[in-house]
């Protein structure tokens, strides 16, 4: 589903003696339905805030979020999925229980949601772990459960906030490959926030690079390399270099 952010501003009012913080100022951006957009930018520039506004967890101070503009029926607000860096799994629910939580909240009957849940368990390579609690899973598994829990809801837009940020690099690579494979099959609309430029290059159709606060788009880079991509190939490396350069210039501006 297409998504347009129209001149969004966000000011956090200062509480107590603190100054108020202007995180976003007339921020505009779009994403085409069925594509994967990555956002990279300096720490604290407002990436998480953008996702939270799209997800409806935070209200924008001004501006609009428009869903499905290009579609026949712009209709109502679609379901927006959100995947968190620290998984945010319900520790008291098993793998299957976590994956089917959203269906349960929506009132899907037990049998149906178990069947659908087990499909996702298999599709996400979690067979044999469906009755385990999160604490018994490795980081990579936990994040697969979190992604499955979100995708099973068939959301119009999926937001991912540094989903692989706390994984070690081997696991991270394999999760990137897993996500790339999954996306090529399903073609969800995904906005992917990351600090890792390699990751952005490996996964995305587009990368937007943000300035520091208040966030503005410095550049929108199209990643046209063929999929499946070669992480250390020349094509990827060129794009990686140019994105790193932009970021480097941005941080050197900061001092």
């Amino acid at each position: 589903m297409d998504l347009v952010l129209e001149r969004i501003s966000k000011i956090f009012p200062g509480i107590g003696g603190c100054e108020s913080v202007e995180v976003l100022k007339d921020f505009s951006c779009f994403i085409n339905g069925g594509s994967l957009l990555s956002i990279v930018g300096p720490s604290g520039c407002g990436k998480t805030t953008i996702l939270r506004i799209i997800a409806g967890l935070e209200k924008a101070s001004s501006g609009r979020v428009l869903f499905g503009v290009g579609e026949a029926e712009p209709g109502e607000k679609p379901l927006v999925g959100l995947v968190f860096q620290d998984y945010a799994l319900f520790p008291w629910r098993t793998t299957l229980g976590n994956i089917t939580a959203g269906l349960e909240f929506m009132g899907v009957p037990l049998k149906e949601r178990l069947a659908k849940g087990m499909e996702y368990v298999s599709a996400f390579g979690l067979d044999g772990f469906e009755n385990r609690y999160p604490k018994e899973l490795s980081g990579g598994m936990k994040q697969r459960v979190a992604i499955a829990r979100t995708l099973i809801m068939e959301p119009g837009v999926v937001l991912m906030d540094e989903p692989f940020g706390s994984l070690d690099s081997q696991t991270r690579n394999s999760m990137q490959e897993f996500l790339a494979g999954l996306w090529e099959e399903r073609r969800d609309t995904i906005i992917f926030v990351t600090h890792n430029v390699d990751e952005a290059v490996f996964l995305s159709d587009d990368i937007i690079v943000l300035t520091s606060r208040p966030a503005r788009v410095i550049e929108r880079v199209k990643v046209l390399c063929k999929r499946p991509r070669d992480r250390t190939g020349i094509e990827c490396n060129t794009i990686r270099r140019s994105v790193l350069d932009i970021l480097g210039r941005e941080s050197s501006k900061l001092g």
């Binding site: 319900f90 008291w92 959203g102 349960e104 909240f105």
Partner: protein, 251 residues
């Protein structure tokens, strides 16, 4: 339970017996362990007051404590969920709770009798007062300790208010609620004597039994009664712990 976990209690008993033998402590007020054992035997077979046997005292007190406990949980847990969830509710009800909390159970007796009459309900009310506050306060802190990200995750998964309460706040606060329940159960037992000051109709109750032994000046039976309450408390504590570790295997 480890085998050596009884060393200290047993050691204490042995030392106590030796001290009693040596005459260092007046046995008229602090009877020796053997005398306490004899007191326990009297409680079991003779009864205190006579013909009121121990097992009935235990049954009636268990009933009172459990009733107070159940109501403490039934009211404390939902209220705690609300007060932990809404800082407004906490701000409004908090001072009220804090004023009522330190009031001694014995001071409540006249009001208990007024509201609930003599008997089970009054006694359960006094015990309720002991149970309620720890359960409430621990439920609040349990809710407050839930990672807020879990609530946001639930919201993005289309959880309604009811789901948030029953399927996020409640399970998330459960570990802390159990702590509150265990503390509350302990304090519930602590208030038992006061509770049974509200009058026992059937003539049974461990607190009543102890107070009768006190009226009749039987320190051996007082001590036996105290230890019986202690051991029952210990056993209930273990049961709650066992229940806890079954219910929150996910921790």
């Amino acid at each position: 339970m480890k085998p050596w976990s009884l060393t200290v209690p047993l050691g204490a008993v042995v030392i106590w017996q030796i001290v009693s033998f040596s005459g260092l402590v007046p046995t008229n007020l602090l009877p020796s362990p053997l005398a306490v054992l004899a007191g326990a035997r009297d409680l079991i077979f003779v009864g205190m007051p006579p013909e009121h046997l121990l097992h009935n005292h235990i049954i009636y007190s268990l009933l009172r404590v459990f009733l107070g406990f159940i109501f403490g949980c039934i009211i404390g847990i939902p209220l705690g969920l609300v007060m932990g969830w809404s800082s407004k509710a906490k701000g409004v009800l908090g001072p009220f709770v804090e004023i009522i909390r330190p009031i001694p159970p014995l001071a409540w007796i006249p009001i208990a009798i007024l509201w609930f009459g003599i008997g089970l309900k009054s006694a359960a009310f006094i015990i309720f007062l002991g149970v309620f506050f720890p359960v409430l306060l621990n439920t609040i802190s349990g809710v407050e300790s839930i990672n807020p990200v879990l609530l946001e995750a639930a919201k993005t998964l289309r959880a309604g208010e009811r789901d948030l309460f029953l399927k996020v706040l409640l399970p998330g606060a459960i570990p802390s609620i159990f702590v509150g329940m265990r503390i509350g159960m302990g304090i519930g037992w602590m208030t038992l004597v006061a509770a049974e000051f509200t009058g026992v109709k059937e003539g049974y109750g461990l607190g009543y039994m102890i107070m009768t032994a006190r009226d009749i000046q039987r320190p051996d039976e007082i001590l036996a009664g105290m230890l019986i309450i202690g051991v029952i408390g210990l056993m209930i504590n273990w049961s709650l712990k066992a229940l806890e570790s079954r219910l929150i295997r996910w921790q």
